[in-house]
Each structure stands twice: as C-alpha cells, then as structure tokens.
Amino acid sequence: MTDIGKVRLRVPAIIKAGDVVQVRALVIHPMERIERDAQGKIIQKNYNYIDKVIVTYLGKTVATFDTTQNVAENPFFSFTFKATDPGLLKVQFLDTTGGRYEGTAEIKFS
C-alpha cells in the first residue's frame, strides 16, 4: 500500500476566535491485528500499528491518544481544541515501526 501515512484533517470552514472547535483526523494505516498460529498461540512479532497520536496547537500539546491494536484500520479520531489565536494545528501519528505521519491545518479566523 503506497497510501500508508496519508493524513486527512477536517476542520470547520468558519472558526471564530474563542470557539471550541471539533476536528476530525484520519490516517491511512493497516493497523495490523494480532495473528495466532494453529494452536491459538500469539505469533510474536512487531506488529505495525499506530500507538500514539499527538495533537498540537500553537506548539502546545492539546491531546494525545495512546492507542492499541483495538483501533480500527485507517484510524479516525476526533477531538476538540479551543481556538484562541490563529496558528497551526498539527496532528502526528506514530506507529510501532518508527513511522511518523503528520497532518497540519492552518487555523484562521473569518
């Protein structure tokens, strides 16, 4: 899959200063599940899944998600933040193989 790591961020079109804004973030990622052999034993290997999502706004961490393999394929997260100043909203996804995928949105007031 060449699409791994594609991040989509969706923020409302109109944001007013002081609003609490809900953002939706999606990343294309396989989120490998635990595999078992014929005896039902877990196969030990380094499963590739996202285990951390970090949301920063104006350089400050607003929310972090610590996730396990129980999160669905192509994980989707939503969260809120308080839009106090125009600036950059950044969402980083880290997976267990060292991958780091990033999506940004410029927060502007209309």
Binding site: I54, A63, T64, D66, T68, N70, F76, T80, D95
Partner: protein
C-alpha cells in the same frame, strides 16, 4: 502507568523546552513506541486491566457527567464509532485528564487512553474501534483531582472484527 512516570515525563518536556532544545525532539515519546504500547495493551481480562491502570481506587458511576455514544448494534465489529464527551469546565484547576476506552470482551481490553490538556476546551474524544464480540464498552474518566468515573454500554456485534 503510574503517576510518577507521567510527572517525570511532563517535567522533562518542560525542562527541554525551557532549555530551548529542538521542539521536535521534545515531542518524541520518551520510551520507544513498542515498549510503550506493550505496557498499555496487554492480553488480559478487563478486571486485570482496570486493576493495572488504576490500582485499587474506587471508580464511581459517572452516568450524569459522561456521555458515551456507541451504536446499539454494530454490524461490523471492525469499525465501530465511539465517542465520549464529559461535562467539565476544562479550566486549569478542574479538567479531565484522561479518558480511557475499554472493550470488555476484547482480548486486549484497553482500546485507547486519551490525555487532554485544559486547552482542549471540551472533554471530548471520538475514534473508530474494533470489537471482537458482543460486550460492554466502557469509558473511564480520570479528572484532574484524581476522581474516577465510569459508564458502560453494551454493543451487539454481528461480525467480530478482532480476528485471531
């Protein structure tokens, strides 16, 4: 996941930024990703997971404050939308520090742990999760004063989504 660990990490981040060390470095998880994930998600029962996370602390019923939004019937266990929102002023003195989502019947019961800052404005999280079979989904909320609140709802799953 003890309190000590959290404090030390936070202090460390603060120190790093105070020293003006590269900001990108400051965001790196202190522990390697894999070790961290194994610590959070383990093959255990939900009771063991709660005990491991919270020790023997009592968990109060949080139904007036917490809104857990899950489907009653999930046709496909591989993608189940879940959202949790908590009544909280989200001020620096009183805010929701963590929202945990647990699925009772999953082999790894802990689904996600969300750490929020007061800047989030509202205690809210949403995610698509996997459910292995019909069972309770619970949300446990840890407030900044250490109070634990919990709500749970049953989700009927037609086709399991955890494999294995």
């Amino acid at each position: 996941m003890t309190g000590d660990h959290r404090v030390s990490r936070r202090t460390m981040l603060r120190t790093l930024s105070a020293l003006g060390v590269a900001v990108a470095g400051g965001f790196d998880p202190v522990t390697p990703g894999t070790a961290h994930a194994q610590a959070l998600g383990q093959n255990e029962t939900v009771e063991a997971a709660i005990k491991r996370l919270f020790g023997g602390k009592t968990i109060k019923d949080g139904s007036p404050a917490i809104k857990l939004d899950v489907p009653i019937i999930a046709e496909n266990g591989a993608v189940v939308p879940v959202s949790v929102s908590v009544d909280s002023p989200m001020t620096p003195t009183s805010y929701v520090r963590h929202i945990y989502v647990l699925a009772d019947k999953n082999r790894i019961p802990i689904v996600t742990r969300v750490t929020l800052a007061p800047e989030a404005g509202r205690a809210f999280m949403g995610a698509n999760i996997r459910l292995g079979e019909t069972g309770d989904v619970r949300a446990i909320v840890e407030q900044s004063d250490g109070t634990l609140l919990q709500v749970k709802r049953e989700v009927k799953v037609t086709v399991g989504g955890c494999g294995g």
